[in-house]
């Protein structure tokens, strides 16, 4: 438990306390002054009462406490709890796991170590530090400052150090200092000899040492065996224990560190999870690094080198395609062998000239199985392909044996040889182990692979250098030659199982994989280098640090051999090795590695978390105390001066308490509000309904509601549209998207909607909503005269709206024909005009067509006839308003107009097609 101050100098303010004490002592609280004429009577009372001329001591103490607390708060005190008990001067050894499993919370580990070291230093003990990766040197006891510096400099390593050396160092240390204290800040993984180290700790404890084991709360996860196959980019995720979290995401980065894609994974109930990137092959090949999001460790990164790039392979067979018997087709074997790591392209069936078409798809490899002679243009295309860096992979066969072209690495003899046949003395030949200069070096040669027939190379001087694989008798099996920037590789056997069982062995897949990985320029260079350098060592290019960041390799990094398969080590940190354009990756974890959580309890170790909690900043508490103290002081003053009665402090105190606790209820309120709105919206979304805009004038709103109700009834009776009960909406507050048509009666006195509300209305209109504005001023408006207040209001409103040009509804507008054939839209009055969006003039056969329409619905309809008043009826269906000039016919026409409006907003220009039906029928009849 350490108490620290952020600004210790502020504590000097405590020196001012005596001065405050003196000041407070001589300044009693000021009494209330009361002018009081009958004071003479009071003098007569001759009452001697003790009056506090000095501040009471408890008030003084309270104020001094407030001042002291304020000074303390300014100093910024913080308490840092540590997990270990206090120290008593015994030497301390801190052993730290500094492999990548500890990297994600390495700072917390270091902080814990520093806190422990600081505690020990305070108690006079000297401290020794033993990072697992630096166990070559015996830990030396150092003073606090040195240890702190070393701890600051400590960084996680990108591999899992072996704890065996550390265990030895620990035992030596305990032997030298029997009554020591040991603290192991463990990463919680079993890898790296945790068991042995625990044993060493236990034996040290038996020898008298006191052992603490701390571990972080973070349980590492790691990426394993990234696979870039033709099907997609996949990577396994391993975790030490299910507490590490069952889901997450993996990001793919290119060589420049840009994020290419992100993929989620979920362990579910299983032990492992896979993240899969479904990306185009070009993008997938760009990926250089996969990283587990949220983990900052080398183990959470996986590297993708050239070998894991997916190649596009164009496969062309010289044999005639026989789909009925695919197992006889070399194409089939090639396809199967390439499929795990490459994308296979085949010529389109029936293509007249397959090869140029395939080359046009820009493959990395063109595989020709038993193709003897190519047409001239195909040959030229192939030569160009190879010269430009392509890899031509050829397989022998009957046709090639009969007569090849010049696109072979070696000159071939006219006929091949048959081994182990009925007519031969020889037995089928096996493969010789691969030479170090061969790209296949490192692959094990299975015994069962035999070759019964092959084409033979003419012996010539450069033949051994061109040979990648040979038979046990030395005859070349695979030869390669550089052509321009490309490479020509020839398998001297066929791609099907007729000449050799190589194509059905696993070696075939591996060999093709190597070839595919080395395709391109690198392969060409390798073919060059291979001639003069037998064992190419790959120097580290960029390596991962412990936190999973790519950077310059550390000085300890050593080159790897070309076939290095040993996993990440101190001298071979994970990263890219070799040439920049064809790097070879050393993965932090080898395929098949798994993360195992270390069972501390099973080894008799009790494990504690890194810290009991975060450092507690005491300042808020102190400031709260100061505030409460000031409040109490104020209340006391009020009470002393008599301004408060006895009950009042309780009331004030309760109010203050409420104010402190007041924030919580407001949040719950805030949660409730939107759910109400959504209920209403949900209903509106489920049942289409008419809506009117609430104007604020109760009479108008009621008329609108009753009018729309009557219209809804009429729609329900006459049409197939059964609207729900109409609702009043406030454009500023309500979501409008659910209402196909808004009826908006204009009330001149109402305030204009806010700018946001107008913007919302604009969006509604843009999204296809229709607003029927009703200025209701047909009786007062004069054409050409000054606008009525309602019209002015509407103009003010639409000034900020994007309203298309309008026109008085023409006779041939579809709105007059959507359900009834109407002359106009009547309401309480019939002389008002109804305006809709102007239609484009149709010059051609304007007169003959019965209706014109655009593709969209007019977003604005403006009328002045007070439609809702004409529709409005009470519950018994009795109309509420008299009409001008009047009559049942006008009311009926008003309803019909409303029906047309609604049908227009719902069906759009559908009716404009319907009205052509007669013409269409006539034409059909002809």
């Amino acid at each position: 438990m350490g108490l620290a101050f952020a600004a210790p100098l502020a504590l000097l303010g405590l020196l001012a306390l005596p001065a405050i004490y003196l000041l407070l002592r001589v300044t009693p609280p000021r009494p209330r002054e009361i002018v009081f004429p009958p004071i003479r009577l009071l003098f007569d009372l001759l009452r001697r009462e003790e009056t506090p001329s000095r501040t009471p001591w408890w008030l003084l103490a309270l104020r001094l406490a407030i001042a002291g607390l304020a000074v303390l708060a300014m100093a910024g005190p913080a308490v840092t709890p540590t997990a270990t008990a206090s120290f008593s001067g015994a030497p301390l050894l801190i052993a730290i796991d500094d492999g990548w499993p500890a990297a994600s919370d390495f700072d917390a580990r270091l902080e814990a170590a520093r806190a422990i070291a600081a505690d020990a230093t305070r108690s006079g003990a000297s401290v020794a530090l033993l990072p697992m990766s630096e166990a070559e040197a015996a830990p030396a006891l150092q003073d606090g400052g040195e240890i702190d510096e070393r701890l600051r400099a400590l960084a996680p390593q990108p591999y899992i150090p072996d704890r065996a050396a550390a265990a030895t160092r620990l035992s030596e240390f305990v032997a030298a200092h029997p009554h020591t204290r040991l603290v192991w800040i463990a990463d919680g993984l079993e890898q790296g000899g945790a068991k042995d180290f625990a044993k060493a700790l236990n034996s040290a404890a038996a020898a008298g040492a006191k052992v603490d084991t701390l571990t972080g709360a973070h349980i590492p996860r790691a990426l394993l065996s990234p696979q870039n196959t033709a099907a997609g980019l996949e990577v396994d995720i391993a975790r030490a224990s299910p507490e590490a979290g069952s889901s997450g995401s993996v990001s793919a980065y290119d060589a420049q560190g840009r994020v290419l894609a992100q993929s989620r994974f979920d362990f579910g109930s299983g032990e492992t999870a896979k993240a899969r990137f479904d990306l185009p092959i070009e993008l997938r090949n760009e990926a250089a690094l996969l990283r587990l999001d949220g983990e900052a460790s080398a183990g959470a990164a996986a590297l993708l080198d050239g070998r894991s790039k997916v190649r596009r392979v164009a496969v062309l067979s010289g044999t005639s395609a026989d789909l009925a018997q695919p197992l006889l087709e070399p194409q089939y074997y090639l396809q199967k062998a390439f499929a795990p790591f490459a994308e296979v392209r085949e010529p389109r069936p029936g293509a007249a000239d397959p090869l140029p078409g395939l080359i046009a798809e820009q493959p990395n490899i063109v595989a020709l199985a038993d193709v003897g002679v190519l047409p001239q243009d195909a040959h030229e295309a192939l030569v160009r392909f190879v010269e430009e860096g392509g890899l031509l992979l050829r397989f022998a066969g009957a046709r090639l044996a009969n007569g090849g072209d010049d696109l072979t690495p070696v000159r071939l003899r006219r006929s091949g040889r048959v081994l182990g046949g009925a007519m031969s003395w020889d037995t089928p030949k096996k493969l010789a182990p691969f030479e170090p200069s061969s790209p296949f070096y490192g692959l094990t040669v299975p015994d069962e692979v035999t070759v019964t027939r092959q084409v033979l190379a003419e012996p010539e001087p450069g033949l051994p250098a061109k040979t990648w694989a040979a038979l046990t008798d030395g005859t070349p099996l695979v030869t390669a030659e550089r052509r321009g920037r490309g490479l020509v590789v020839l398998f001297h056997v066929s791609a099907d199982a007729a000449w050799s069982n190589l194509p059905i062995s696993g070696l075939f897949v591996d060999m093709l994989h190597r070839i595919a990985a080395d395709s391109g320029e690198a392969a060409a260079r390798r073919a060059e280098d291979g001639a003069r350098n037998d064992a190419p060592a790959l120097a580290p290019l960029v390596t991962l640090d412990g936190r999973g960041r790519l950077g310059a390799p550390p000085p300890s990094a050593r080159p790897i051999a070309g076939d290095y398969d040993g996993g990440a080590r101190r001298d071979h940190p994970p990263g890219f090795y070799g040439a920049a354009d064809a790097p070879v990756a050393v993965q932090p974890l080898r395929p098949g590695d798994e993360l195992r959580a270390f069972d501390f309890a099973g080894q008799g170790l009790s494990v504690a978390p890194l810290r009991a909690g975060a450092p507690i900043d005491l300042r808020p508490f102190l400031l709260a105390l100061v505030f409460l103290g000031l409040l109490a002081d104020w209340l006391i003053l009020l009470m002393m001066s008599g301004a408060l009665r006895r009950a009042a402090p309780i009331v004030v105190g309760a109010l203050c308490a409420l104010a402190v606790l007041g924030a919580a209820p407001e949040q719950t309120h805030a949660k409730d509000a939107p759910s109400i709105a959504t209920t209403r919206d949900r209903e509106a979304a489920l049942t289409t309904r008419l809506a009117y805009v609430v104007s604020g004038d109760a009479r108008v709103d009621e008329t609108s509601r009753l009018g729309l109700e009557a219209l809804s009834r009429a729609l329900n009776q006459r049409t197939s549209f059964a609207p729900g009960p109409p609702v009043g909406v406030d454009p500023a507050r309500d979501e409008l998207a659910f209402y196909p048509m808004l009826y908006w009666p204009i009330v001149a006195g109402a305030p204009l909607p806010s700018a946001q509300a107008i913007a919302k209305i604009g969006v509604y209109l843009k999204q296809g909503g229709t607003i029927v504005f009703d200025t209701r001023d047909a009786l007062t408006a004069h054409e050409g005269g000054a606008p009525t207040p309602e019209t002015q209001w509407l103009r003010d409103l639409t000034r900020h709206l994007d309203i298309p040009p309008l026109e008085v509804t023409p006779r041939d507008h579809v709105i007059t024909k959507t359900f009834y054939l109407l002359d106009g839209f009547y309401g309480r009055t019939i002389n008002g005009k109804t305006w809709v969006e102007a239609l484009p003039r149709d010059s051609k056969d304007d007169s003959t067509r019965p209706v014109r329409a655009t593709d969209s619905v007019s977003s604005v309809v403006i009328t002045s006839n007070d439609l809702a008043a004409a529709w409005a009826a009470d519950r018994n269906g009795q109309p509420l308003y008299t009409l001008t000039p009047g009559g049942a016919r006008q009311r009926e026409l008003a309803i019909r107009g409303g029906v047309n409006l609604v049908m227009y907003t719902l069906t759009g220009n559908y009716k404009s097609d319907q009205v052509h039906v007669r013409d269409l029928l006539e034409r059909l009849g002809q």
């Binding site: 004429p37 009577l41 009452r47 002393m640």
Partner: protein, 308 residues
């Protein structure tokens, strides 16, 4: 009672000491007088000086009416000059003149300039309002009203203005705590309005002087509510208006009971001093409407008149 904290003031806190030295600032009073005059009119209008029938024949100097000589009357009462113009005998009747002049005195000492937050207006304003209103009421009842020591009793329609003028032009002599020491004529009535926070002994002596010739009268004691209830609590510094004396009370509420008792004793002494000379004492609090006091006082005065 969870009432608000009581605050008090004497017109302006900053000028409190100056006011106590000079008495009530004449200018301040002058500026408030128009208001007071109007209020006095309003109060007077609400008080109807009841039917008292003093406009009748009686002993007096002024002619009232002629009436027929009745049998059995003394012959010297016949007005011969009138009787000569007719063949009947007439008697000249003179108006009944109550020799009742009213002398008003309103305390203008600094302690009257006190008002608390519970009161409607300062004691002084209330005293002036009541005094002027009563003068009007009395004038309309046919009485003459004068200011004690300042004016002779007069009876004019604009008596309020006249008296107010006289008050204004009076010097510091009129700012005493006690009325002037001059015997009133017999039959005169004195109306003394004050808070009577003076020494009861001195007051008794002064009243004796005033009533030496048999004048009757009434005392109206104006009191601020806080002076009666003493609603103070906590640490309080009491300041006097007149002398600038101070009293520090550690816990003011502890004084309340004793103070109320002391006030009652003081009132008793005032009552006793008034009763000695046959004066009545009325108490009026400034948180009550002025008309209330005016009404009760006018009744008291009227009944006193009829008694005399």
């Amino acid at each position: 009672m969870a009432g608000p904290a009581v605050s008090t003031r004497a017109f302006e806190a900053s000028e409190r000491l100056a006011a106590s030295a000079r008495g009530i600032d004449a200018a301040g009073l002058a500026s408030r007088l128009p208001d007071i005059v109007i209020r006095a009119r309003e109060v007077a209008a609400t008080v109807v000086h009841g039917a008292h029938g003093r406009r009748r024949a009686g002993t007096g100097e002024n002619f009232w009416q002629f009436r027929s000589f009745g049998a059995g009357e003394s012959a010297h009462r016949i007005d011969w000059r009138r009787s000569a113009r007719d063949d009947r005998l007439f008697v000249r009747e003179r108006e009944w003149e109550a020799a009742h002049s009213y002398f008003l005195w309103m305390d203008c000492s600094p302690s009257m300039a006190f008002v608390s937050s519970l009161a409607l207006e300062p004691k002084l304003d209330r005293a002036l309002t009541l005094g002027l209103a009563l003068s009007d009421v009395l004038m309309r009842g046919g009485e003459r009203v004068g200011l004690l020591g300042l004016t002779q009793p007069i009876s004019t329609r604009d008596i309020i203005e006249r008296l107010a003028q006289a008050l204004l032009s009076a010097g510091a002599a009129a700012r005493g705590e006690l009325p002037g020491a001059a015997a009133l004529p017999a039959g005169a009535k004195a109306l003394l309005i004050s808070d009577f926070l003076c020494d009861p002994q001195a007051l008794a002596e002064r009243l004796t002087t005033l009533a030496a010739n048999g004048a009757a009268g009434a005392l109206l004691m104006i009191a601020d509510p806080v002076e009666e209830t003493f609603p103070f609590e906590g640490e309080t510094l009491f300041l006097d208006t007149d002398s600038g004396a101070q009293l520090h009370a550690g816990r003011a509420q502890a004084w309340r009971e004793a103070y109320v008792e002391r006030l009652a004793r003081h009132r008793d002494e005032i009552v006793k001093a008034a009763a000695n000379v046959g004066f009545s004492l009325h108490v009026h609090r400034t948180d009550r409407p002025a008309a209330e006091a005016a009404l009760s006082l006018s009744f008291a005065l009227t009944s006193g008149l009829e008694r005399v």
